[in-house]
Amino acid sequence: MHSIRIALTTGIAAALLVTAIGVAGAASAQDAAKADEGAIKYRQSLMESVGGDMASISNIMKYGLPLTGNLVVHAESLAAHAKLVSTAFERKVTAGQTDAEPAIWAKADEFKEKTKAFETETAKLVEVAKTSDPAALGVQMKATGKACGGCHDNFRKPKEESFKRKGGGGE
């Protein structure tokens, strides 16, 4: 009788343990999936932020708005956000709703160069924005735009392959 009780207890304990491990495993897989998803969402919202500041500067310029004092704030915001790009792409996530090219991690050095170029151009943009010289600002905005394009060229999927196309998550 006693041995049966021991066996039963051991069995239940073992079963509980197995279940616990299983749950933990499932939970950690779930955590990983969630972290992947979050990494994608974050880097995309970071990009939307820099897009927003670029658009704000352009709107002041193209409509000739009397808000030139705001230009420096947007430029500083861009420069600050540029410094976040490298951490935003630390976690390698290539599957899911993303337009990031695997080359970001396969050619990490080249990607890093593009990140640096973006930091450099936005830092220059801050200096130019302080001078309130519209022609110089135009030139530096162009250079900043090239820093965006220089990275997107090889590290962001083109429209044809974007996950945003209806019915397709790309390849």
Binding site: V50, A55, S58, K62, E101, P158, K159, E160, E161, K164
Partner: protein, 310 residues
């Protein structure tokens, strides 16, 4: 793999800038000077530059991937052997406006003569004067790599006979001069429709969906809907947005444009005077909105039925 194209853009930019700088020194006379502006209004003719493949600017050989096969652009530098150096004025005009080579054979419509046919002779000749002021580059043209029947030279003649009619741009007296200037630029010189208008199965522009976006632009690129449809087109863009975009390549949301559009802005439209950019914007705003989501995935028979395939 399409991304490979972009690797060459930086090199292309540098090479063309150098070339244009060299040329502007030589292009002292007025016609060539004006011709440079016309060439820029035409997007800089970057399709004729295969810098990525080691060819010189405008020396041809760039692969243009189309649904009908791969076509290679031709050498339009004034080299007498491999380029257009021996062409007379009338031969150049005939090629641009009628799609016929000096030896009489018809071009495939990857060369956008169905748009250039609208150009005025003075603009065409100014463009020639400018091209002839550039340094000749020796580079043999490469045969196309298209699928039958598009690989047959006779197909180009048949196509031309069936789908082409020489038609000079005629201003609409009921419209403003600004609108007419915009129409002339978009429809003829800048040939926006060649990329942004969907094509019918035989590869003719589907004029019932003029500028409504194409899934199979050159090099397999997707060219968005430019009609003022609020959902699928650029209906929410202001004229100022459009002019700014054509000057800088920057979209209203701050994003940048890529691929072929970036090239034609950088070497072409971006140099147009503000009045021309505004004219293009005014013309685009006047178009009837067409609902066509070029971003939607490829369906079977890409030439029709976008509206119903939502």
């Amino acid at each position: 793999m399409k991304r490979a194209r972009s690797a060459g853009i930086a090199a292309l930019t540098a090479a063309i800038a150098a070339l244009l700088a060299a040329a502007s020194a030589r292009a002292g006379d007025g016609a060539a000077q004006r011709g440079r502006a016309v060439l820029e209004a035409a997007g800089g003719c970057t399709c004729h530059s295969d810098v990525k493949g080691g060819g010189g600017p405008l020396a041809g050989g760039r692969a243009m991937k189309t649904p009908f096969g791969v076509f290679y652009s031709t050498n339009i530098t004034p080299d007498p052997e491999t380029g257009i150096g021996r062409w007379s004025d009338s031969e150049f005009v005939r090629a641009m406006r009628e799609g016929l080579a000096p030896d009489g054979h018809a071009y495939f419509p990857v060369f956008p003569y169905p748009s250039f046919t609208g150009m005025g002779d003075e603009d065409v000749l100014a463009m020639k004067a400018y091209l002839f002021s550039l340094a000749p580059v020796r580079r043999e043209n490469r045969p196309h790599d298209a699928w039958p029947p598009f690989s047959w030279r006779i197909a180009a003649s048949a196509w031309r006979w069936m789908f082409f009619e020489p038609r000079r741009f005629a201003p609409d007296p009921a419209r403003t001069p600004e609108w007419n200037r915009g129409a002339y630029l978009v429809e003829a010189v800048a040939h926006c429709g060649e990329c942004h208008t969907p094509r019918t199965l035989p590869g003719a522009l589907d004029r019932s969906r003029w500028l409504a976006g194409s899934k199979d632009g050159p090099e397999g690129e997707l060219a968005p809907n430019l009609t003022p449809d609020a959902d699928t087109g650029i209906g929410l863009w202001t004229k100022t947005d459009i002019a700014w975009f054509l000057k800088t390549g920057q979209l209203p949301d701050g994003d940048d444009t890529e691929g072929l559009m970036k090239e034609v802005i950088e070497h072409g439209y971006g140099h147009l005077p503000e009045s021309d950019l505004q004219a293009i914007a005014a013309y685009l705003h006047s178009l009837p909105p067409v609902r066509n989501d070029a971003l939607a995935e490829h369906e079977h028979g890409h030439e029709h039925g976008d509206e119903s395939a939502e």
